[in-house]
């Protein structure tokens, strides 16, 4: 329903101009919980602000239901925002905040009152309708901000890091709450965050951004299992990267005992494997076997991180689940054999530098 086409935004002019977003193109489907994920300065907030209409784009189109809205002012777009600092109007009550959009649209009082009541019930804040917004806790303000943005029934709800100001416990509760609201209303959510865990647990699809460009758009599981490049792999979860080469259908890793048959064009590649997939000793399905020295053991409760030093000085980490009995799987300074199972290996394009 929303088509983002070649959307570009640069700030400043001439030599000092900075491109915050470059040629971004992708669709968002009706009823989707879509997340923009990336480090700060990656362009995710810029993209959100372009969709909301707070900034004019430097180029490209935003086609919503077949109509280009890229150059409409924010008050003419059927899109509402939940702001990072909530931006509740401090001089109004909770009810006045929630009813603001309907008032601005000139709807009759009775309709406004009914909608406000329904919205406050939806976020379970009916009892606070006549409080001033400054008298609310962070979590309550968050709910008011949600109700306020949902009240005018937007086509898309934009959420700009809405949970970042909350403490850990409240954040977890609100994650569940947000997901429930999205499923109940069936609304399209575009959610901006730099927190990968938040993105993985809540989203239908995630767009990982860096340097003003989309790195990969996929479901949470695909992103984790099949990262498109080194940036996505390192931004989401933890990863080991090793330099390798493909030659005539074989993967050659200098430290490994023998090559592995693969179907990949020839050339240098980056080999990626998640720490929890590294096996100490030999693995049943086979894979790359290498010798390593245990540098350090770090105990994490549920598991232990084994820091390994390979023959050529490269380092990697294996994550081993802690057994009920038996203590550590190996000792520091042991020289052991580790296996990288075939199905856990990912070949990523080798990046310069």
């Amino acid at each position: 329903m929303l088509e983002i086409r070649n959307l570009t935004k640069s700030f400043g002019r001439g030599a000092t101009s900075v491109t915050a977003l470059s040629e971004v193109t992708f669709p968002i489907a009706e009823g989707e919980f879509f997340t923009l994920l990336g480090p700060s300065g990656c362009g995710k907030t810029t993209l959100l602000r372009l969709i909301a209409g707070f900034e004019p784009p430097s180029g490209g189109q935003l086609v919503l239901d077949g109509r280009d809205i890229a150059r409409l002012p924010p008050n003419k777009r059927p899109v509402n925002t939940v702001f990072q600092n909530y931006a509740l109007f401090p001089h109004m009550t909770v009810a006045e905040n929630v009813g603001f959009a309907l008032g601005a649209q000139g709807r009759p009082r009775s309709e406004i009152a009914a909608t406000v009541e329904r919205m406050l019930a939806l976020v379970q804040l009916g009892h606070l309708a006549h409080r001033k917004s400054g008298e609310l806790s962070g979590g309550q303000q968050q709910r008011v901000a949600l109700a306020r943005a949902l009240a005018p029934k937007p086509r898309i709800l934009l959420l700009d890091e809405p949970l970042s100001a909350l403490d850990m416990k409240l954040r977890k509760d609100m994650q569940v709450e947000l997901k429930r609201l999205q499923q109940e209303t069936g609304l399209t959510f575009i959610f901006v965050t730099h927190d990968q865990e938040e993105a993985l647990t809540m989203s239908d699809r995630i767009a990982v951004m860096n340097g003003g460009r989309i790195q990969q758009i996929a479901t949470p599981r695909e992103l984790y299992d099949q990262p498109a490049n080194r940036f996505v792999a390192s931004f989401i979860g933890e990863s080991n990267f090793l330099d390798a080469t493909c030659a005539r259908g074989r993967l050659v890793l200098s430290q490994a005992a023998g090559p592995l048959p693969v179907s990949h064009p020839d050339g240098p590649v980056t080999l990626m494997v998640r720490p929890e997939h590294v096996v100490l000793g030999s693995a049943r399905g086979g894979g790359l076997t290498l010798a390593a020295r245990v540098e350090r053991l770090v105990y994490f409760g549920t598991d232990t991180h084994v820091h390994l030093l390979l023959a050529d000085g490269a380092r990697m980490v294996a994550r081993v689940q802690n057994a009920l009995r038996g203590g550590a799987p190996c000792a520091e300074d042991d020289v052991i054999e580790v296996t990288l199972p075939t199905d856990a290996l990912r070949l990523l394009p080798k990046e310069a530098g």
């Binding site: 002019r13 004019p56 430097s58 180029g59």
Partner: protein, 303 residues
């Protein structure tokens, strides 16, 4: 091109802002800036026979700010009368600033270190004189020190003096009056600066083996200096241009620049000289202001 559209919208925004600011800008331009321009023009004209000016260009007005010409032999000498008044104005203003500093800074410190709830009360006590008419406050000081005012009567009653001391119409009277009326102007900005100071920093200083004095000098002073400078400027500038207080406290004999300027604009007096003196006073004030802004902007750059 989209960037052209952006340029257009920036232009429209700038135009809208200028239109909004226009009424205020117009009023000030017409009734504050333009008149000052006329004063500049007048300072280069020839005095008229009955006051006002003749439209003949002349530098005599500026010349007479510092010099006088003997009417018989045309010899030029420094104008003692004008110099005395300029020097007196600057010295009295500096002294006023000094007195208000000595009284005002500890007061500001005292208020800022009261518990939150008491602070409002003490501030209230400072703001009342601040908002009270300057003339009324000058009358109040005058009442204190006039010949049969309370101070003289008290001294007589105590037997310390035999006859009332003549305090009114002296430099002392002007100084006392100005220090009294401008004191709140010193307290408020200094208070604001101290109030913003985070006293945990002083504790950190103590923790790092600083003595009380060292701590005040190295930790507190740099942070409240801006407020002290602001207070000094707020006192010094109106002192320099003071007119009402010197007129009442100094009488007709002991004058400051403001009064000297006024007398030049009477019937048959030298308007170009008055204009030149006005601009001299304005220049002195601007020097103080420029010094202040340079000091504070450097402060901001360093900090």
């Amino acid at each position: 091109m989209a960037t052209d559209a952006e340029t257009l919208s920036i232009r429209a925004d700038t135009r809208r802002r200028w239109v909004l600011a226009l009424p205020a800008v117009t009023i000030i331009t017409l009734f504050s800036i333009l008149p000052l321009g006329v004063v500049v023009a007048y300072s280069f004209l020839t005095p008229g026979d009955y006051g006002n000016v003749k439209w003949i260009i002349s530098f005599e007005g500026w010349f007479h700010v510092l010099f006088e010409r003997d009417i018989f032999d045309d010899t030029v000498s420094l104008s003692d009368a004008h110099l005395t008044i300029v020097v007196r104005s600057v010295l009295l203003s500096l002294a006023t600033t000094g007195i208000t500093l000595v009284l005002g800074v500890p007061t500001a410190w005292f208020i800022a270190t009261r518990p939150q709830r008491q602070r409002a009360f003490w501030l209230f006590l400072i703001t009342i004189p601040f908002w009270t008419n300057l003339l009324v406050r000058t009358i109040a000081v005058q009442e204190m020190i006039r010949s049969d005012g309370i101070v003289n009567r008290l001294l007589l009653w105590l037997g310390l003096i035999d006859a009332p001391i003549q305090m009114m119409f002296t430099n002392f009277a002007i100084l006392l009056g100005m220090a009294y009326v401008f004191l709140p102007l010193m307290v408020l900005p200094v208070y604001a600066a101290i109030e913003r100071f985070d006293f945990r920093l002083a504790e950190a200083g103590y923790d790092l083996y600083a003595s009380r004095l060292y701590c005040l000098r190295k930790v507190v002073l740099p942070q409240v200096k801006a407020g002290i400078i602001a207070g000094s400027i707020l006192v010094f500038v109106p002192s320099l241009g003071a007119y009402v207080t010197p007129r009442i406290m100094g009488g007709g004999t002991t004058l400051m620049l403001g009064n000297l300027i006024e007398t030049q604009f009477g019937q048959g007096r030298d308007w170009p000289l008055g204009a030149a003196l006005s601009l001299t006073l304005t220049a002195l004030v601007l020097v103080a202001l420029v010094w202040y802004t340079r000091l504070t902007t450097r402060e901001r750059r360093d900090g």
